[in-house]
Symmetry: none
Subunit: 205 residues, 4 copies
């Protein structure tokens, strides 16, 4: 289920100059951080000269903002699609965890790590723009968590639970390896199990 071999890209990071720039920037920002990455490196990785880069983005920070916005849009859309297909609350909760984990360790890995790692490199104004998009994403989470709380499926306050889940999932980029002893689905079930009032049946690890 985890997809690391699909292009380390998100929708909007296609073969256009803009798309190549965003892919290159996402990879470099993750590897080196925003400050340690130079616009020359980004331009070179996208096959253009540094001066040309500024025909596509007004500033280095705007590239960072664009990476974040694209990945949030893409993952919000994916999550909405997955939620729509889930038959009940428990399935929806599992879908949220699986989608977010997939985004963190799977196809949008680079850009998601940029979102976490380089957040502080964004000016307050640009943070606000990104947060506006992020809010819709968080609303998907809170709706399901409230629904789960209302049905006594989970033991923890939705607000707190969302944050504990965000911590568990985002941190997994530092250690989770789909080729390791724990599979992607096992990890999803483990995290789900920690949220549920009753242990998950057939739970592993």
């Amino acid at each position: 289920m985890v997809n690391r071999r699909r292009r380390l890209t998100v929708k909007g990071m296609d073969d256009s100059p803009r798309g190549k720039l965003l892919s290159a920037a996402a990879r470099l920002f993750r590897q080196r951080g925003f400050e340690r990455t130079t616009v020359r490196e980004i331009a070179a990785a996208a096959g253009i000269q540094s001066g040309s880069l500024f025909h596509h983005f007004a500033s280095k920070e705007d590239i960072l903002k664009a990476v974040m916005i694209e990945v949030i849009r893409y993952n919000t859309a994916r999550m909405e699609a997955t939620l729509a297909a889930a038959p009940d609350t428990r399935a929806r909760l599992r879908a949220l965890i699986a989608c977010e984990l997939e985004s963190i360790v799977g196809d949008t890995r680079e850009a998601m790590l940029v979102l976490v790692r380089c957040w502080e490199s964004l000016s307050k104004e640009r943070q606000a723009e990104v947060l506006a998009l992020r809010r819709a994403y968080e609303e998907l989470w809170l709706a399901v968590l409230r629904e789960a709380a209302a049905r006594s499926l989970v033991r923890v306050d939705p607000f707190v639970l969302r944050r504990l889940l965000a911590g568990m999932v985002s941190w997994s980029n530092t250690w989770f390896d789909p080729r390791g002893p724990t599979s992607f689905d096992q990890l999803v079930d483990t995290i789900l199990g920690m949220c549920l009032r009753e242990p998950v049946t057939g739970e592993s690890t």
Copy 2:
């Protein structure tokens, strides 16, 4: 229990020039990140000239390393002391969570956030030096988690559980406010509850 008003300092960050430098650096590194902090800012915050800084540390990166080492040493010692006073496995597990959460949201907050946020700014060589210390700290965790697993107190593999806990606790710096609706002890119990096979009695939130 959370202690945010005590000096944002750790042992070794006293009133000596070195201590003032470390405190100032920890605060600035957390606020702005390593790359965005200049040695002139650190020196000014410690009340000395930028040139003088290099009488105490050979390089800017050495300051970062020192911040990390001091905070790990301090928190490892505190955790050992707290563990020694815990009567049983469950108490020890709770002590670990409380100690780590305290380190993240309490007195050593600045330096602990630097440890997470600025890790990638450290050269590989210096990372290794810090990791050597960090290993002892992680051993304390694993010993208790294995003990808890052996007694069926927890439901998740110790290796995986440690990482999920690390994610929940470290992420709490982004949202937890001891003056908010959830108290420090409630948060500790909530996290503890998510680990335990049976719900915690008298659990809150």
Copy 3:
């Protein structure tokens, strides 16, 4: 014959930014030495900003290396041309002395003095690069000196003689003035006479 009024430049030090930088650097390095010359001074003398200098050279030391390489190339070529036109051994020996003296007190004066004065400021690696070129130059000398020794024209071992000549010629930059009582040609003949077994006919000074 001495040419001090022609541009204090060598081939490759033309009106291009690179050429202006090399000319300016040669003059400053000779006047102040490598360490006392700042990149800001070089840039200012070439009419650009200090940051722009690094579009043309990767480092200050690379400028020094380039000055040395250009002047060796230029003088090697000139010496080869002059040698080719010399009818016999004695004329070739005189041509070598005249060419080297011209390089030291004439048109390439600045850069040649840099070669001597700033040699130790070059890293071992860069010294090796320059030495590789210098070797071809020295081969021209040794071939003629061996020829002169074979014909009993000179009294001293070629290896030793080359070094004594190098000392006499390079040192002349400290005192020789073509407008002084000794002319360029007289000095060449004087030095030549000190090498030859029989006094030079029509010798002066």
Copy 4:
């Protein structure tokens, strides 16, 4: 005759703090040049702290000046003593060459090379002070060269000859090795032979 194993020191560079400082400075200035040598290195090599150095010398440049003055004084005295023992003009000329070569490749090697290499690092004022002493040394040379010219012993104008000799001798530090194929005495005779109107009897190399 060459003396490389005697202390690399001159009179005045004894075991006193001042003497140790001068010896250390001479060695470091020769190795690294004046600008590349730090007062901390000099102090450390002399076994004191950098702050203490300024109780012995008012500035770094004063150390350089002192090294130069000591070595000129020492070599002037040695040359006077050697000249006094020479029976005739030819012996005196040979004594000058031998003394200067000894100073350059023998016991005062370090300091003499500093005199050549670091001359431009001295301020004009200090250069004048050193030149005043140097003048007496040069007078010894010129007196003998004039005497030799008067007796038609040499073929070249004394002023020019002195400079050609200075070049040959000072340059020999770059290549002469007393353990090599040419001995110290052979080199002295070779240089002497290049000055004399008639080839030296029993001349070698």
